[in-house]
């Protein structure tokens, strides 16, 4: 991510990866304060054995796109909302990449989904991880059924 102030948002990506036992590393690589170091990290990522890079940034959010320009790996961008504009600047700065250099953008503040998207990418060629993702989706369904049951009780009591 571009700053440690993004960690409260971005840590949800780490949590998601940990839930799937996918190993990861975290780091602060600022596109604007350490441009050379950021590019080096991106250039070496594939040969170091990384498979996917998740990059979160806010405002004029250049980190995901710049990382994508310097690696062949898929890059997932998380628009971090700052004090003004509700993350709309972050979203447009990340998603509107020119032809040739894509960034896989998730929702504003959607770091958890960034982690889950990384898992899906890895699962595409990993049967075990794919099975875990199927179980995860089944658990989402079960959770909804439980909420449904509880809400019907609540609503019945209210009326």
């Amino acid at each position: 991510m571009g700053s440690d102030s993004d960690w409260p948002v971005m840590s949800a990506a780490a949590t998601a990866l940990a839930e799937f036992d996918v190993s990861y590393e975290v780091g602060v690589y600022s596109a604007h304060r350490t441009p050379g170091r950021m590019l080096s990290y991106a250039q070496e990522a594939a040969s170091r054995g990384l498979k996917v890079i998740i990059a979160g940034a806010g405002g004029a959010a250049h980190l995901p796109g710049m990382v994508a320009s310097a690696t062949v790996l898929p890059v997932i961008g998380v628009p971090v909302p700052l004090k003004y504009l509700d993350g709309m600047d972050s979203l447009l700065s990340i998603v509107q990449m020119p032809a040739g250099v894509p960034v896989a953008t998730v929702s504003i503040g959607g770091a958890r989904n960034a982690g889950l998207l990384a898992v899906r990418m890895l699962a595409a060629t990993n049967p075990e991880l794919r099975k875990k993702m199927a179980e995860f989706q089944a658990s989402l369904e079960a959770m909804v059924l439980e909420k449904d049951e509880n809400l019907r009780k609540t609503a019945a009591q209210d009326s």
Copy 2:
């Protein structure tokens, strides 16, 4: 995609895949006109051997998110711009997914990048494809150098 009217935009994804010799299939699966068939397609995609799904849609663009809800595969969403709002409705309808079900969103009308992102995902575990992507990125760089040279000549003649 949700309608054949999206093909002029979406065909650029097919072209990108073809450039990398990645095989693909195309189809019209409307979230709103054939919801059951769309869900079946998504549910069977992984077992049929697909690795990535690219879904383009416009307006209240529900196709990418609904496909993502019914598969464990990574889903790439392309916001197709319609007659009004310049694709802002399409973008928000695709990217703002709730936690649990990510869609890898690219730029408005960015179907070529959707194809390239799919290649990157596959390349993460495919050395040959990764090499091709590196060559592609080098060709982008060469193209810029050529444009740079031409522009300097043009600008010199103008002044």
Copy 3:
């Protein structure tokens, strides 16, 4: 609705229906976490005797449109505002439906109006309900007259 977290907003629809003695059921049917179950609910709604469906959702709010795609009943969509963007993403995701599958969209967070709109739909062929709606509208008028009187007193005291 798509999640029990929407209930604080959506309960106002239930309250409005109750005020008109219109019976209703509530439930959590997530477009993204339980897509098949959500479609089944929509497909069976008409034969189960339901007359109108109210669906609230936020962000990439696909629930109302997907329900509308699988039923012949009128579907009312309530854009639920989430943490960012003030519900603008919810509104566009619900209202910008393609030709063929309409959703009757109300204001951001406007669940009470969703309930009242459902009553108006039922009242179109129900004289008794229509009479109640006319009385309700008269009560709104009376309420404004009372507010008007009070405000004039307040303003007179202030000056």
Copy 4:
């Protein structure tokens, strides 16, 4: 509608109603140029036997909301896009109604959906109309299947 200049957009609502053999009347009732006449029309609509009112307007689009304020019938609002702002002003002016007076809003320029929504409302208590709507939805599905087939041929020839 508020002006005959809205007819090119609004006529699609009439076409949709005609397809379902639902009788209708058309008229120009301007909220801003004939306010009294517009209110009278709305006040008398229910007793004249109308079941649903479709109102289209653009810019500071007050017609749908004002009609809704003076009738117990359900009112469907169509945001007509004008020369600037792509209909965003029309949409917000129609959909953001205060609690008490709902307008069933459809997409920007979505007059066809307004007609179909009116049919759904009437069909809720009309089995024959409901059957027609089910057939209509089946025809949408058939149309998608045909487009799907054609596109697969096109795409195969392209590659």
Copy 5:
């Protein structure tokens, strides 16, 4: 205004008028809850001797435009911000009036300026009021000079 909930915003207009000894009346006239009464008020305003009408409303803010449609007096519209969208819906609903029926729109929440604008309108043909407005503007200038002096002291102490 459309509701007594607008009074905390709109009272600033009354204050401004009082500062210039311009007499005024206040009232709640809802476009959507009391449409007939609202129109009657507008229609009779000129013959009752009113010179300017200030109308504040929020969301789908139809009050200023509807009042303008039923009077020959100049109407000043105040976009009142509601819970969502920061008053952008109110602004567009008020300012985007069709040709023929203008509303003099002030800033979001700008009730004080609505009062001052009314004073300017009256002052155009009232020398005494015009003199007061000139004095008021001179007082604004004096206030800025005082703030300037204080700030320079503060800034000097800070450094």
Copy 6:
């Protein structure tokens, strides 16, 4: 106005004034290219006998607000749309004035309404002009009735 390129939009204000036999003058006074001359014009306007000033400008549209800052006359601002952003920048630059200095803002490109608003302001203390405005409004109503009749014929022939 700020530039002669605004004349195609702004001439509609002149036309409206001419229709009511209200005399006017036109001129180009750029806030950014002739700031001193623009302020002088505003400062002398009242003593020269002008009653209302209409100012149109686009983009960072400072002319109406700056004129308002240097006169006691009511100033009407017309947001002129430029090549990008559909006049949203012009609208916000004109309408969002700080407390103390109001600008009576009309719709984007709404120069005709600016002229009509000026007439209403003058009519507030001019019985003859008020009568003309009432006749104008009656003519708007007659025009709608004619359009209504024609449209009913057209629609009847179409079906």
Copy 7:
């Protein structure tokens, strides 16, 4: 700046200048409340020896552009966010200047960057200041490295 209420935002510009030992003066010059004095300040700035002017304003933010119209010095504009619209009105009012009169606009609330931009401008012809700026940028890089190290520890402890 236009008001002392802008000081909490704008003081960050002063702080940045002080960090680089660049002398500066602060003042309140309102475009709308003291237009003549504001223009005089701008007109005399160059001959008084000033090199750069930083102007902050909010809403219909005319100060930076008006100052730029009356000086040959580079003017830096800071969009100050007000109560509504998150500074989007301020940004557009400042940045969308017509050809001929530029304003160097920084981010919403970005007064610190305004100060740093002024330093860069001065440093272009001042080797010592340029060296300080290079050191400052190196310190930003060091700060990121430290944050990186700390975050890695935190993340390691969390997992």
Copy 8:
């Protein structure tokens, strides 16, 4: 600039510099296609004797900010409008830079102003250039006076 497709917009900056006899160089340096080369250019710019850098880019416009991160020179950013969103994405991607790394942003498509802003920066320490800028501003004023005269004739003939 980031691509030769930006030249039709950006050439206006070159024209402005040429009008002031300020020497310049042009080049294509893509942030996303040649990140390393772009950074090198920025890092060496100051020591090569450049005084100001103008960078234009569209969409997720990272070029100006990335160049600013790697140089101590002032960087002027020009938001180039692309096919969709009217340059709003370009504007936000350029202007919303984080504290520490400013970009002097001009209007959407405002390359001429970028050139003029560069001249102002250089003129701050160059009396001759400052004189030229004053003459240029006087010529703008003369041009307005001529337009004013012509328009008054046109308007007089029209009426």
